[in-house]
Amino acid sequence: MDFYLQQLAIGLSVGMTYALIAIGFTLIFGVLNVVNFAHGEVYTIGAFAGLLVVTTFAPPLLAVLLAVLAVGAFVGVGLERLAFRPFRRFSDEASLKSRAMRESTLMSSLALSIIAREALEIAFGSRFQSVPVAAMINQPIALGPVTITNGDLIILGVAALMLIGLQYVLRHTQVGLSIRAVSNNPLGAKYVGVDVDRTIVWTFAVGSMLGAVAGVLVGFYYGAIFANMGFTPGVKAFVAMVMGGLSSIPGAVVCALLLGVCESLSTAFVSSVWSDMVAYGFLIVTLIFFPRGIFGGARERV
């Protein structure tokens, strides 16, 4: 029983990191109907940025997180500028969400992700970079029969804070309302004077901030940072987005947590190498039985 409780706690914190990544996918999908294939690299860059900050200045974790948030926003804006904007010659809804846009930006974001990954390998080498022990977040904490680490709590706490913050931004700020408006009805957004291009940039900035923070949290949790680290969590977050109905934030968060917990509990039955199969299994089941996502029935966006 204790084992299950422990795996549940770990699964929740892993699921939270999937949720942070999945929200980036979801926000961008809502606004542009495209999948940003460079999102996993935003996560990796967040982790590397955190590592650089820690090895250079050794500041407290909060300062690292703030620096990574800034880097994430910057990377998101650059990504939009390089991989998405050049293809957006018209901004009416038909071309904004057209198939041609979807396919061309799919390729351009994939290309950019390969470039980013290779550049990181050239700069840092392909081996794991270890995080200084003092900066790692893996001090064990005994909670009754269960032993978790302070990292589990930090990840849960930071992710929960960011989710709450995101909800506040989306409901009570002009930027957030604009993101939801463009996601809901880009033509209508133009008629109320929303700057659609600028809103798209903001969407990338916000989504990438969440992704970059997920990267640094996971990097400091496991103590290993490497150029390819974004791939697997990127795929899992993508699965969570699909399960959640592509453009529903609550759907993506719930599915990400479900995925994290199931993966974590699956190690009770199979070797942990196989736990990656859980995500693919979920994806197949979702696509066969819930093609619009488990929460996608209502087609609510953002």
Binding site: D92, R171, Q174, L177, S178, R180, A181, N184, N185, L187, G188, A189, K190, Y191, V192, G193, V194, D195, V196, E300, R301
Partner: protein
């Protein structure tokens, strides 16, 4: 006609290879209601979307308060005080009524909300309701109210009566008159020619991407050609 707040000259608009507007001229005086009538496919909505910067103008000028706004970006046009309640309403159906209004309001929001709700008391009880669940008439009111949130100097209305019950149409047109009384100039595109001519000062008839007839609304309402084509034969 008083000094025009909006004047369009030689406007040409292409969609792909096909030209929809072939050198259109139209003016709307300050504080006036101008109605544009015309059959389906005459180019009315194309005209409205081009004025608001959603479609690109190929040639010609669109002057709003003396400034050429042809091909300006739509959010800049909104900022100048030229707002539109577009065809199909284009409200944010999965956001609340309040959020729809606040989005329209930009920096003004709080101050304008009360003024707008005074015109549309039906919306007051529904502020936290999801906009997509409103009735058609309420959605149209929300659409107009959302535009009024920005204190427009001019309001464009594209088919405000489409799909609404006659009683609601009457209500909407009464509101149009009240909005004009607040000093807002109005350009209205309408299939319901009878209702539009009743409230308008001037009117123009669009045919095949140009203005065919134009003149005082009262004169057009008794023009035999208009009567036959748009008023069902008996004025």
């Amino acid at each position: 006609m008083s000094a025009p707040i909006l004047s369009i000259s030689g406007l040409r608009v292409k969609m792909g290879a096909q030209e929809i507007l072939h050198g259109l001229d139209l003016a709307c005086g300050k504080g006036e209601i101008v109605a544009v009538l015309g059959a389906n496919g005459a180019g009315k909505t194309t005209l409205m979307r081009t004025i608001s910067g959603v479609y690109r103008a190929g040639a010609g000028a669109i002057r709003f308060e003396g400034e050429d706004i042809a091909n300006a970006r739509s959010h800049d046009i909104v900022r100048k005080g030229l707002l539109q309640a577009p065809e199909g309403r284009q409200i944010f159906s999965n956001m609340t009524v309040r959020e729809n209004l606040v989005l329209g309001g930009g920096a003004l929001r709080g101050a304008e909300m009360d003024r707008v709700l005074e015109l549309f008391p039906q919306l007051r009880d529904r502020l936290s309701q999801i906009a997509g669940s409103l009735s058609g008439g309420e959605q149209q009111m929300l659409c107009i109210g959302r535009a009024l949130m920005q204190r427009p100097r001019m309001l464009l209305l594209d088919e405000p009566s489409l799909g609404l019950a006659p009683k609601i149409v009457q209500l909407i047109f009464n509101l149009v008159t009240r909005i004009r009384e607040q000093g807002v100039s109005i350009l209205i595109v309408e299939q319901n020619a009878r209702a539009a001519l009743k409230v308008a000062d001037h009117a123009a008839v669009m045919e095949g991407g140009r203005i065919g007839l134009s003149g005082r609304a009262s004169e057009l309402a008794s023009d035999p050609r208009v009567v036959e084509l748009y008023l069902g034969g008996h004025a």
